[in-house]
Subunit: 186 residues, 2 copies
DNA sequence: TAGCACATGTAATAAGTTACATGATTTT
DNA sequence: AAAATCATGTAACTTATTACATGTGCTA
């Protein structure tokens, strides 16, 4: 009868609720969908997805439909009303912020303990990575704008892409400043 | 005699090596120093620091000096030559990058499942947080520039601070764009 | 003398990745 | 016939946080 408060939950459950709000999905399909949608700022592994879906079904947040289409076995999960309610509740809750660990900055902070050329190489590598990322994000923005014109979620999806472009552009500028500093140091 | 390769190590060890390269420190002092130095992009808890220091001493990366000054018990750790060598090796290794989870973007991606005003409030809260962060970073930049003028590590320390200001400034702009979008939606 | 800062450490818990194990269906 | 893809799930391991446990010395 009594449901023990499960203590500060992770967000894996909520991310799956969100994805399932787009339509019924299997665990395998969820994994694929992540790569094509929220993959630039969120990941989930199979080791998390399958056990979490099972728990969510037990909690009544999703319903399961076994699909033995004569074909492969497959479990398709759908949001229930309590699941939709839980998603809405979570969306309205404040975002928890913690310090993200940044290994590049950690190395740079101790940069004068290493070779200057090595430190410079780390920044160059990051610059190249960010350059590729920026191109990818710009392509995504073009594509979703074209593919989902008029979709009520499009403004929200664009916000997430533009977060990436804004951040990436700024950090590319930072890389260039760093490389200038490296040149001045020698 | 044979040392089993400890498999892909975490960076807690390396962060402690870096901090100890600034001078001998106890576990407690390390925690304090983190708050005053790399706290904006790196954290370590006591639960990590103490066991890791013990392991590092066993591995010969640091030496321990018990300090029963007639005062409190205290263990002061110092880098050994193998520790310094390990730090240099790590600094030269490429930075591993993985997708950082961004809970704000996760919520915004599913934003049209919630109340528009709630989503807007999430962005406003983030804007306020970033505004405070920017002020803090600017103050730090002023202070370390004044306090450590001429210090060989200063250019590196400034790089880490400017990473923060560049990122924060860009994301503040993004917040404003989002809030404009929210206004246009209503 | 009460409370705070100093100081070290362990245990419980949480969260997540990777590798393993299994097997069906489709494509080359 | 082999390889790739679809599909589900578990086990082992790693990493980290939080809470707990303990005790000293200084200051209000």
């Amino acid at each position: 009868m009594s449901i023990e408060a499960p203590a500060a939950r992770a967000t894996t459950t909520e991310s799956l609720l969100g994805l399932l709000s787009l339509g019924p999905l299997s665990g395998y399909e969820i994994r694929q969908l992540i790569d094509e949608s929220i993959g630039n700022f969120w990941t989930e592994s199979f080791g998390q997805i399958y056990p979490t879906l099972k728990r969510m079904a037990a909690d009544g947040l999703v319903s399961v439909e076994e699909t033995p289409d004569g074909k492969r076995r497959k479990k398709t999960y759908s949001l229930t009303d309590p699941g939709r309610e839980r998603l809405r509740e979570w969306l309205a809750m404040p975002v928890s912020v913690q310090v993200p660990r940044n290994e590049l900055l950690l190395k740079l902070f101790f940069g004068n303990r290493g070779e200057r050329s090595e430190m410079q190489r780390l920044v160059e590598t990051r610059r190249d990575l960010l350059t590729a990322r920026l191109a990818r994000l710009r392509a995504i923005e073009q594509q979703i704008t074209a593919d989902h014109a008029g979709h009520p979620a499009l403004p929200f999806w664009l916000m997430t892409v533009r977060y990436g472009t804004a951040e990436t552009t700024a950090l590319l500028g930072w890389c260039k400043d760093c490389l200038t500093t490296f040149k001045e140091m020698s």
